[in-house]
Symmetry: C2
């Protein structure tokens, strides 16, 4: 199974601890949630028992930190935040290819599987949806920044619809990463091919 | 709650009936699955009891038709097949706008919610995945047909990557329909805006 390093949980909705917190234990619990969801378990059927067993802790250890499964899932979604990618900042094409390629690494592949398993909960729970949005939004903002820079530099059309272009870059990537939607597009050159096709219409 | 007419279930993996089948009962059971999934229930937590109660039949009535929940879900996915859209067949732009717009009606909105709830099962079960693909593939083929016609007529570039273009049209639509991904793109003109942006790079 792919394992993915997670960042520190955000700590929202968590019980005030009765004794000093142990960050490693928090980490192991969140990692266990990721591993279980990433292996195809739905959030609905995820049990605190299974999380405890996977993390190698007692159930009481989890309940000392999170009041219920929902609070734990919210922190798990928040912990999906990886480091934002560093961009070369030279050509718009190179930066876009970098950003789209970064969605296809092992970490994001795992994140895609976890996201697929969380979609019903995201669709159902406004709080989960808000947290998921807050994970995605900084990534979108990086992509927007590259597009705005391209407009300013004259690499992209002055009247480019930034939000639609964002969706044209991220929608197909999501469909491929989370859904493995089409088996007929070349996987190796996907990022370059998509960026070039979008830029063909977006270039100044 | 939005209700959606479903077609006759495909009948795979179904028990040989002990007595003549009643299509209306089949229909009511499949409809109940759709209504429960469409209201945010995950496939995992869907119980045969809840389906029976919603459909107004006894649990034994379901088990006479389907050996287990998996067989029922497979038939429900197969029943998502609606009629394929009729195209004017004049301009490529008009046909593409029609196809993308058709993804945003009430039926497809409901289908999107049901799909979101089935994603963990689709990711986990090869059979569910196969069935889901078989629901999507005829729709993709219609889109491919329009693109190929555009290439033949000279409306689209001769070297257009049909599969990538398909993904550039369907990926953003999926992200908007199933995920309500971005709130910053205009909903009213989404289909026209997307088609025009894709065609800007794809036109001959």
């Amino acid at each position: 199974m792919t394992t993915v390093s997670v960042q520190e949980p955000a700590g929202q909705d968590r019980k005030a601890p009765g004794r000093p917190r142990n960050a490693q234990v928090d980490h192991a619990i969140i990692q266990a949630v990721f591993d279980l969801l990433g292996s195809g378990q739905s959030a609905d059927s995820l049990s605190m028992e299974a999380v405890a067993a996977k993390a190698g802790v007692g159930k009481a250890t989890i309940y000392r930190r999170w009041a219920n499964k929902e609070a734990l899932l919210v922190d798990a979604v928040a912990a999906m935040k990886g480091p934002l990618p560093e961009l070369a900042g030279e050509s718009v094409r190179d930066d876009l290819v970098m950003l789209i390629s970064a969605m296809r690494n092992k970490r994001m592949e795992h994140y895609g599987k976890v996201t697929a398993c969380l979609l019903p909960e995201i669709a159902r729970s406004p709080e989960m949806r808000r947290i998921h949005q807050s994970v995605m939004e900084p990534r979108r903002e990086v992509l927007r920044g590259v597009l705005r820079r391209g407009i300013a530099s004259g690499e992209l059309r002055a009247d480019l619809d930034v939000e639609l272009t964002l969706l044209m870059l991220s929608g197909p990537s999501f469909a491929q990463n989370v859904m493995q939607w089409s088996t007929r597009v070349a996987a190796d050159t996907f990022a370059e091919d998509l960026v070039d096709a979008v830029l063909r219409g977006a270039a100044a």
